[in-house]
């Protein structure tokens, strides 16, 4: 038992750090460190830089062109990029659909889709949630009917993150109605430029356009875009969920943002107020405890000796921490969190700030992060899962 990273791990970290220092554009990291708006171009620019290095699919095995890193190396990569102010990798392509294609796609599909994902050229979206199915995902209704060598898709997806930029979307669709809801679901890849696909923005409470509704009106999808077998999509989706492991906790971002809380509290003069500072101290312990929890999971993955089935805990604590740091930043601003200047969240805005520039995004971020305890399996669903592991 040892808390320290091995010299090899340290060396690996240094390499990542050095490369990120060289290659992460400062315009982008400045935006991240100040919670300013990232454009599609910002996100894609960074994705392509990573893609060129072969690190966009940083969790991929070597056989598919990935770096073949172990759990700790992946964590170190995530940590170094997060602390340096890199944008989060949009996960739908490299983190979510790619592992499914690797595990259940045929060779042709792998050759067709993986390179575009790895390079960052093709923007993927995720078509899971539907208006009627929130936490109860398996109740989804979007239908895909097989007609010859095509599927005809009709229905609606919702909460589709950044689908306004999407080239492709992977969907869970209903292909069968017998038996349990889970059994009639298939996993289908759909070109968003297909006729009949339309995207409608959903404006969130912070005024931002981050998610969408995606409508399918008699969309023809070649049958070769089906992953694996018909009606087995639920199994593949669950496999995918099992790949969302420690990064669901987002602890590295939390560390970066905790540092920002302190900077803002100092600038606003409340860091020296013991009452406020104590709240930061509580958050600091939360972050350290979450990091220890994450490291324990990583260690278990690396050694294979123990397995720690606590993904639910990571999701709950990680999301609570995200909400809390955004809340504390807003509270640090106090009355200065009341002004709402959405235009001030664009880098290079030439207008006059209220109080100070760093105050402008604080309320927005607080509002925005309310989503974290809802999406990816609400925290209530996660508590169900945790309780199941404890109580049976």
């Amino acid at each position: 038992m040892d808390l320290a990273f091995t010299p090899e791990e340290q060396k690996f970290r240094e390499e990542i750090r050095g490369w990120v220092r060289e290659n992460l554009p400062k315009e982008i990291s400045d935006k991240v460190h100040n919670a300013l708006r990232l454009t599609r171009d910002d996100l894609q620019r960074w994705a392509k830089i990573l893609g060129k290095k072969g690190w966009l699919g940083y969790g991929w095995p070597k056989q598919f062109g990935g770096p073949g890193w172990n759990a700790i190396q992946k964590h170190l990569f995530e940590e170094e990029t997060a602390l340096a102010g890199a944008p989060r990798i949009i996960p739908f392509g490299p983190v979510m659909v790619a592992p499914v294609i690797m595990a259940f796609g045929n060779q042709e599909q792998q050759q067709r889709f993986l390179p575009g994902i790895a390079s960052g050229e093709v923007w993927w979206s995720q078509g899971y949630s539907e208006p009627g199915s929130g936490s109860d995902l398996a109740s989804l209704k979007t239908r895909a009917e097989r007609k010859g060598d095509k599927y005809i898709v009709n229905g609606q997806k919702t909460w589709t993150t950044l689908a306004q930029h999407g080239d492709w979307i992977f969907c869970l669709v209903r292909t069968g109605t017998d038996g349990k809801p889970q059994t009639g679901i298939s996993f289908l890849l759909i070109d968003m430029k297909s006729p009949g696909v339309s995207v409608r923005p959903i404006i969130m409470l912070d005024g931002e356009h981050e998610v969408n509704e995606v409508f399918f009106d008699n969309v023809e999808v070649p049958a070769e875009n089906l992953i694996g077998e018909e009606n087995k999509g639920w199994t593949y989706a669950k496999h995918l969920l099992s790949h969302e492991r420690t990064n669901i906790a987002d602890v590295n971002r939390a560390k970066r943002e905790l540092e920002r809380v302190k900077r803002i509290a100092k600038a606003e003069g409340v860091y020296e107020d013991r009452r406020f500072r104590d709240e930061i101290a509580k958050l600091e312990v939360d972050v350290v405890a979450l990091e220890m929890l994450v490291l324990r999971v990583l260690s278990a993955e690396k050694s294979g000796k123990n397995s720690l089935d606590i993904a639910g805990l990571l999701k709950i604590k990680g999301s609570e921490i995200q909400q809390r740091y955004s809340e504390l930043m807003m509270l640090a601003a106090g009355p200065y969190a009341i002004p709402f200047l959405p235009e001030a969240m664009d880098a290079g805005w030439q207008g006059e700030f209220v109080g100070a520039s760093y105050l402008a995004p604080l309320a927005s971020t607080y509002f925005n992060l309310r989503k974290t305890t809802i999406y990816g399996g609400s925290n209530e669903v996660q508590r169900n899962i945790v309780a199941q592991t404890v109580l049976g």
Partner: protein, 371 residues
């Protein structure tokens, strides 16, 4: 001891609720938000209902009512998330009536009561945060005339108001002035607020001013306390509506083949929200009923009330969003606007942590409603 509303108070409530329901629906509000967060016509309608003169004596054209009536009105405005800052009018009229020379009262109170003049408190400064005794704005006297210089932040409807009540330091002591927006050297830079309302950065440069009172800190504290009581009542109104939409959604929305309202873990959350709702209402009553108490008792009561309201507003707001799931974080749905309104109300006149400090510092050996 009696917590029943009189028939007159009930009629007042009905009248305001009717206006909100019929005259200020969500769509009208949304338009007002888009148009900048303040609708002078809507404010005029409030004045037509007599509400701008609620605290103003009948001699000056007002209704001569008290804190309980103000509470009733603010609850109802909270239910409609009305953007126009009637709470500021209560502050300004209460403060002028309580502290200003007769001539100034005669000049302004009738115009305030009629809705012709909107007067707001310009209090926040960059270095002051929620503190009332920090004031870098200064005033200077030359003969019989005063001028004010300095900058005030987040002044409600600050680029729409007709005049400001401005605390300013004179010889190390805070005095209170009235400055017209049209006066020389006044600039106001307006913007929207997080909950859709309007505020402005207002600066004064040798701007002509009328002295309200040399005992400006006492007046400011009193004005802020009127604001706190109004904010508490407004918060109760928003909480009530937040609870309503949450309960309705939970009895409609199905997951796993059953309504959300059937899941015990969620039911218990609602019970906890109901607790906060009733504690908030209790402490809003408490605030209004203590508003005319002597200053130390009044200040202590407002701190307690605003602390409880802050806790309740945050808890109810956050959990309402959570219980709604995805729909709760969309701009389209009214629930997200309740949440934002509750957030902004907590940040107005001191958040929970600030008020906890006020409670802590004012604590006596005895405890309870009357101690």
């Amino acid at each position: 001891m009696d917590f029943d509303f009189s028939d007159d108070q009930q009629s007042l409530r009905d009248a305001v609720r009717k206006w909100v329901d019929k005259g200020y629906d969500f769509e009208r509000r949304r338009k007002a938000v888009k148009a900048g967060g303040f609708d002078r016509a809507a404010y005029g309608e409030l004045a037509d209902l007599g509400l701008a003169g609620l605290y103003i004596a009948e001699d000056h054209g007002g209704m001569g009512m008290g804190p309980v009536e103000a509470m009733v009105v603010m609850e109802e405005l909270g239910r409609g998330m009305v953007l126009e800052p009637l709470g500021q009018t209560l502050i300004a009229s209460g403060l002028l009536a309580g502290y200003a020379p007769a001539a100034l009262q005669s000049a302004w109170l009738p115009r305030i009561a009629g809705g012709a003049a909107l007067v707001v408190l310009a209090q926040v400064e960059r270095k002051a945060r929620y503190r009332l005794d920090v004031c870098a704005t200064t005033a200077a006297q030359s003969g019989n005339t005063w001028t004010v210089s300095g900058a005030k932040s987040i002044v409600p409807a600050g680029d729409q108001a007709d005049a400001f009540l401005v605390p300013a330091t004179v010889k190390g002591r805070i005095a209170m002035f009235l400055v017209e927006r049209s006066a020389a050297g006044v600039t106001a830079r307006g913007y929207g607020t997080q909950a859709g309302g309007r505020a402005a950065e207002v600066s004064f440069k040798d701007s002509p001013a009328s002295l309200v009172t040399e005992d400006g800190l006492a007046a400011l504290e009193h004005g802020v306390d009127i604001g706190i009581a109004a904010t508490c009542a407004e918060g109760v109104g928003v909480i009530d509506k937040t609870m309503d939409v949450t309960v309705e959604y939970m009895n409609t929305r199905k997951q796993f083949g059953a309504t959300l309202a059937s899941f015990q873990a969620l039911r218990h959350r609602v019970a906890d929200m109901k607790m906060q709702q009733e504690l908030a209402r209790s402490m809003s009553y408490y605030a209004s009923l203590k508003l005319n108490a002597p200053a130390p008792e009044r200040r202590s009561a407002m701190a307690r009330a605003k602390y409880q309201l802050g806790v309740a507003m945050r808890f109810v707001g956050q959990n309402s969003v959570q219980l709604h799931g995805g729909i709760g974080v969309t701009d389209e749905y009214i629930g997200s606007h309740y949440f934002k309104k509750l957030t902004e109300l907590e940040l107005s006149f001191g958040d929970s942590l600030h008020q906890l400090g006020e409670v802590s510092e004012r604590m006596q050996d005895t405890a309870g409603v009357f101690a």
